[in-house]
């Protein structure tokens, strides 16, 4: 059985290595600032006790006030999982660092999220629309897109 790690405990460990990174945390998830996201992700992947080597799912939710980018991480070795999140409040140009340098599985998923939700993944090697055609105007999965 995959154990879902307690977000509050992981948040304490993250705060030790990068103070101020955690915005909020509860049992289910850890929310970090987008500035510290890359560093936190590296920490989660490279710490032997955590060893999150498998980014299974990447998506975003539009809460109208802000966007929440959600990362579902799994460690195949320890068989545990974690939900990592980050928020961006700028509706015109929400920017989040790209995870492709750490987990290559982010490649298509970040392109899809950019395409449908309009979130810019800074550092992505080939950030262009994935499902919709070039020249499409708007991002259909936003709540204000009708």
């Amino acid at each position: 059985m995959t154990t879902a790690l307690n977000g509050e405990q992981v948040a304490r460990r993250i705060n030790k290595v990068s103070p101020g990174a955690v915005v909020a945390s509860d049992k289910a998830a850890v929310v970090v600032t987008s500035e510290s996201l890359f560093k936190v992700a590296e920490f989660l992947k490279n710490t032997p006790a955590l060893d999150f080597d498998y980014l299974t799912d990447l998506t975003a939710v539009d809460y109208t006030d802000y966007f929440e980018v959600v990362y579902h991480l799994i460690s195949l070795k320890h068989n545990h999982s974690l939900v990592l999140k980050t928020r961006c409040h700028d509706r015109d140009k929400p920017v989040v660092p790209s995870m492709t340098g750490i987990w290559r599985s982010a490649d298509f998923q970040e392109r899809e999220t950019y395409d449908l939700m309009g979130i810019v993944f800074d550092g992505h090697p080939n950030l262009k629309r994935l499902l919709l055609w070039e020249g499409f105007v708007g991002h259909p999965l936003r709540r204000d897109y009708l």
Binding site: T2, T59, V61, R104, S105
Partner: protein, 367 residues
Amino acid sequence: MVIKTEPFILNIGPQHPSTHGVFRMRVTLDGEVVVDIEPVIGYLHRGIEKMGENRTYTQIIPLTDRLDYLASMTNNFAYVLAVEKLAGIKVPERAEYLRIIMAEAMRISSHLMAVGFFINDLGAMMTPVLYMWREREKLLDLFEMVCGQRLTYNYMRIGGVSQDIPEEFLPALKKFVAEMPGFIDEYDQLLLQNEVLLARTKGVGILPRDTAINTAASGPVLRASGVKWDLRKADPYSIYDRFDFDVPVGTVGDNYDRYWVRMQEMRQSVRILEQAIAQLPGGDVWAKVPQLLHPPVGEVYGHIESPRGELGFFLVSDNSIAPYRFHIRPPTLINLTALKDMVVGWKVADLIITFGSIDVVLGEIDR
């Protein structure tokens, strides 16, 4: 004399028999050798995630049929499991067993298509596929018995399944389960000692273990690369912890291993089916669930081992009748991330079979 050469770009697809749907590959070639590849997708995009946000939880079930249309039952299964996790609904025992029976029968049916068309891509035009369709047809007949459909089943419901099986179902399934191992032996006899198949697949399109994990490959593609990771064992959902089965794992991660893993998985699915038939209890098949479901505010990520890999549903509820966010994790889209690693340096003919060995379904990639 030195001949001046330069790489050129070849478009394969979107309308091409080897692309298993409307998939386009933009391939950069040096002579016949692949230098670079870029998958171009979206030709079948229907906006299912957006549609889901405007439908009730029950109305989404038929949408999931149209994702991976070669394994609709497992799509239904993954979605209803996620909703049940979100709303905390308990499913009757008999429905759990019926779901397992359908999911494993679906896995055999889907793998038959995968292996058949993989051999087709190798150049054995249509003959092996017809052998495999012979058995798949029996499974489609079984599905037709339970829900009247052969492709888009819409059989599972939140809290159970739509109806109980008819009385002719179990005898037909038992006959299939008894015969199927013999048929798999027949495929092995026809294919496993075939020199052309071995020469074209062994050592071709290797996906190393580390790359497979880093690109989050799943299902037979991940297991062929030597990673023993099957969600039915690693994170048992429904009642998979009650069954005894093995997880076949490849060694090299080449096309042959991906083919071999699928063949072995069919044998294991037959084992699960045998046990499920023997243990099948009586009783209700659908729990009492309100017609209009209002799950509590929250979010859930439910994943299962579909024939193609980890199929996940991410749902966010705001306590209304429709999900606030409905996201699908499509296994084959993410398995395609590693396609470039598998094919660069190989010839165009190897590209076709390596792509076939991933077993893509475009309905799921494009959504």
